[in-house]
């Protein structure tokens, strides 16, 4: 028996703490809570967890990390045609991939990602799959043959009964992710990552990426307000003095 769980994850750019020039992709921090929900459900009910991610090859690192945390199968959906996807195109691709993984019981997304606050991909993918979805879930209990979920929805505390198959977007506050500590690197290489492209999903170029999107980036601009930092000179007491004076002048204390 057991439940087949699919977790849609995302990587975000991280900057090394020393400077801002080197980028590496890391697992979206919000996805850790979502993964933890999947791990707990599998602990209670048995089954499998598949992590799914759409993006460039650098997203593979995050998928490897999820497998080291305990995910059974990691799938990267990647190819050049997918670049420039908005949430409409992304949800179309994710839905095609999820259909390919049928039968499944539960599809999980994070309610937010650290680099974009839209919260759209989950609901749009669920609509494409005609799947029930509850967004922003902050608590999950097991019912008789169902899940009892709660969320804070614009100041209303709502409680739903959800039957499989269903989708949920998980709010960060739902659960505390386990300390992953020393990762089981060996098992990752034994399992291996799967890589799918849009043709594997039975999709045409026109349905994906920038061509399949309905919104485009027009321009980027620096906001007018740029801070210029004034440094307090001298040392110790002198700096403290200067700072307090400056704050008094600004009417801040």
């Amino acid at each position: 028996m057991g439940v087949n769980i699919i977790v849609c994850i995302k990587s975000i750019k991280s900057t090394a703490s020393q400077g801002q020039r080197s980028f590496s992709d890391e697992l979206n921090p919000h996805d850790r809570a979502t993964l933890e929900v999947a791990l707990r459900i599998r602990e209670d009910l048995g089954g499998t967890i598949t992590a799914l991610s759409m993006g460039p090859e650098t997203f593979a690192t995050s998928l490897h990390e999820t497998m080291a945390i305990g995910v059974d199968r990691g799938i990267l959906i990647s190819d050049r045609a997918l670049a420039g996807s908005d949430t409409l195109a992304t949800s179309h691709v994710l839905a095609a991939a999820i259909r390919r993984l049928a039968p499944y019981d539960l599809v999980l997304f994070s309610a937010r990602t650290a680099d974009s606050d839209t919260g759209q991909v989950g609901p749009q993918t669920a609509v494409a799959l005609e799947l029930t979805i509850i967004t922003g879930v902050c608590s999950i209990e097991q019912g008789k043959n169902s899940l009892l979920v709660e969320r804070n929805y614009d100041g209303f505390l709502e409680r739903y009964e959800v039957y499989f198959p269903a989708a949920l977007t998980i709010h960060q506050s739902a659960i505390r992710p386990r300390d992953t500590g020393f990762l089981r690197i060996q098992s990752v290489f034994e399992k291996g990552l799967e890589c799918w492209n849009h043709t594997d999903l039975g999709l045409n170029r026109e349905e994906v990426g920038e061509i399949g999107s309905s919104t485009r980036l027009f321009s980027l601009s620096q906001t007018k307000k740029m801070r210029g930092c004034t440094f307090m000179s001298g040392s110790g007491p002198g700096q403290a003095d200067q700072l307090v004076k400056a704050l008094l002048q600004l009417d801040m204390i």
């Binding site: 801002q20 839209t118 749009q124 967004t135 209303f156 309905s214 485009r216 980027l220 704050l247």
Partner: protein, 352 residues
């Protein structure tokens, strides 16, 4: 040359007065945009005029369709579409999306705008997907440029705004808008016509069972509401040094915040975490002490009025977002600062 009048729809949230006012803010913004875009604004209200709501908490606060329509007109809507059906009594994103999508497909407005609330966000996402339309999120401002709608939104990079447009083939564009900025009150809309739309023929999605719904008490959010916040980072090295952050905050009458290292090391509670995976704050005065200036953190503080950064590395990126900077070791500098502030406070007290 006759210019085609463009239809701009705004979804009206009737669940309670507070959410209705957020919708009215967005209605005002839509009206301003419509003025420059040769457009007219239609409020779209969905519900049931003759069904008693199941949950007491809803019944107490939910606005009546007709009254909401009248108020929408007096506050700027030129037209109102009311979709009235007993199956729509309870506000739900799944059922509302079915009927809204149907109306959008039949009438083809140029834009459908939603206030950025949990419900607005979900309803917009569902309806955009059902109508295969683009959705621009978190829009701060709308304008027309060369006959196209251009939406200004925050980008994933700090300090950078993005302008987003709909693709050429788009018929209807969806937008979620920041509702918090209230406008100067709008004049009455004109002609103020109300249209009652039937949803009888529609298959309305029946979603999962709602077991209960109750209003949450307004929870205290000390960190988000503080005027002054002192944030401590990993550069403080241990819990003992971190204590000085508390002292400085207390002296200034402010709250404490932290970046991830102090939270991981358990020098401070998780609720104090500031940044992308923690809280976003915009106090008048913010001290950033012994923090590296990583984007995951600074995105949570960048809208503070005055930022003071204290770091012993003069090249630390934290100084890029600060107004006042001190290159010093927090451990030795903080006691001096705390003293100086205490002196100033006492001195001022003495003056009165």
């Amino acid at each position: 040359m006759e210019k085609k009048i463009k239809d701009i729809w705004v979804f009206g949230d009737l669940r309670n007065r507070k959410l209705f006012e957020l919708y009215i803010n967005v209605l005002g913004r839509a009206k301003k945009f419509a003025g420059s875009a040769c457009g007219r604004v239609t409020a779209v209200l969905i519900g049931s005029s003759n069904t008693r709501l199941k949950f007491d908490s809803h019944r107490e606060t939910h606005l009546q369709l007709e009254a909401a329509a009248d108020e929408s007109i007096s506050r700027g809507a030129d037209y109102v579409h009311i979709i009235d059906d007993s199956r729509l009594a309870l506000p739900r994103a799944d059922s509302f999306a079915s009927v809204l999508a149907d109306a959008v497909i039949r009438q083809g407005p140029m834009l459908v705008i939603f206030a950025l609330t949990d419900f607005g966000r979900e309803l917009a996402a569902r309806t955009a997907k059902m109508t295969n339309s683009g959705l621009i999120a978190q829009c701060m401002d709308l304008k027309m440029e060369k006959g196209r709608v251009v939406a200004k939104c925050p980008s994933s990079s700090s300090g950078v705004m993005a302008e987003i447009i709909f693709s050429e083939e788009s018929r209807t564009g969806f937008v979620t808008m920041q509702p918090a900025v209230s406008q100067t009150p709008e004049a009455q809309g004109s002609p103020g016509h109300i249209d009652w739309i039937k949803a009888d023929h529609l298959d309305i999605l029946e979603g999962p069972k709602l077991l209960s719904s109750s209003p949450l008490r307004e929870t205290k959010r000390p960190l988000e509401e503080a005027d002054t916040v002192v944030v401590g980072g990993g550069g403080l090295h241990n819990a003992e040094n971190f204590y000085m952050i508390r002292e400085l905050a207390e002296t200034l009458g402010g709250e404490i915040g932290a970046t991830r290292p102090p939270v991981l090391q358990r020098w401070v509670e998780e609720e104090r975490l500031v940044g992308q995976t923690g809280k976003t704050i915009r106090p008048n005065l913010l001290f950033s002490v012994g923090t590296s200036g990583a984007i995951q953190y600074t995105s949570g503080i960048k809208d503070s009025k005055v930022i003071v950064a204290i770091n012993r590395d003069k090249d630390s990126p934290v100084f890029n977002i600060a107004d006042l900077g001190i290159v010093a070791d927090a451990k030795t500098f903080l006691p001096l600062l705390i003293n100086r502030v205490k002196q100033t406070m006492t001195y001022r007290k003495g003056e009165h």
